[in-house]
Subunit: 139 residues, 2 copies
DNA sequence: TTATTTGCAAACGGTTTGCCGATTA
DNA sequence: TAATCGGCAAACCGTTTGCAAATAA
């Protein structure tokens, strides 16, 4: 397994508190408990965190995910739904079922390559990218 | 030139009012007046609309862009900036300069094809997609 | 000890909505 | 005329923030 969130915090100089450790654990456990394509929003994280320590406030959850995002630990997604959703920083794309909201993650080398090539063509170095496909399940 | 917004409204059964006509015109004129990569947010649209008719309220602008979006006339973008931005519905992608915020539009047949292929591979028909590249200008 | 963090509640900013008079088809 | 729309201001909702007490290093 790769570095834990706690290890990443230490190596990035992010101070650890009980609250942050709990939030980190909830995020790390998310995929195990809720399936591969779990992308909780802050409310949902707050619910899960509350079950471990009911005294943690939602403001702390907001502050923590922002902190983790800035430290490059989490990735924030907006999709088409109003609220921001978070997941561990990892380089993949999303295929979203517009009927059910189900999210499928995928990586495709060919697309990664093409993206770099396109940025290059316009005189840019690619530093980030976002690809979302919206689809309807075939019968 | 292709259909105007007004023509699209008529063919989609969207009732036309003075306010909507003005908003439509402002959007149509956007690229001409403000450059190829103009993606105004609602505030900015409201400013431009106000110069033509100061009595149009921002609520109407909100209602109208939403209406146009639902009619498939406009596309809403979120990028990384809090507020929603709009542009005429057209099938292209965005390359965003993370230093300056400049937006470059591009289309790439190869990427379009790949996207369809990927959706297909997971058993989906592609109905929409979003590709954003974030880059830094090369020296 | 000193800087940072947390919880609380209030503020914020973009967006939506209820009401009711005005306008469209 | 019937149905829809627009202006206003208030409500909404996700997110941020000021403050004072609590805590990490």
């Amino acid at each position: 397994m790769t570095e834990t969130i706690e290890q990443k915090c230490i190596s990035k100089g992010v101070k650890l508190t009980d609250q942050r450790r709990i939030i980190a654990r909830v995020i790390s456990d998310s995929k195990k408990k809720y399936g591969e394509s779990d992308h909780p929003d802050v409310d949902e994280l707050y619910n899960r965190v509350s079950q471990i320590d009911a005294k943690i406030s939602i403001a702390t959850v907001y502050r923590t995910v922002k902190l983790f995002e800035e430290a490059g630990i989490l990735t924030k997604h907006d999709f088409k739904s109003g609220k921001a959703r978070y997941e561990l920083n990892d380089d993949h794309n999303h295929l979203i079922d517009i009927k059910t909201g189900e999210i499928i993650e995928f990586v495709d080398e060919e697309i990664e390559e093409l993206q770099k090539k396109i940025a290059d063509k316009y005189g840019y170095n690619l530093v980030d990218h976002k690809l979302e496909l919206y689809g309807i399940k075939k019968k």
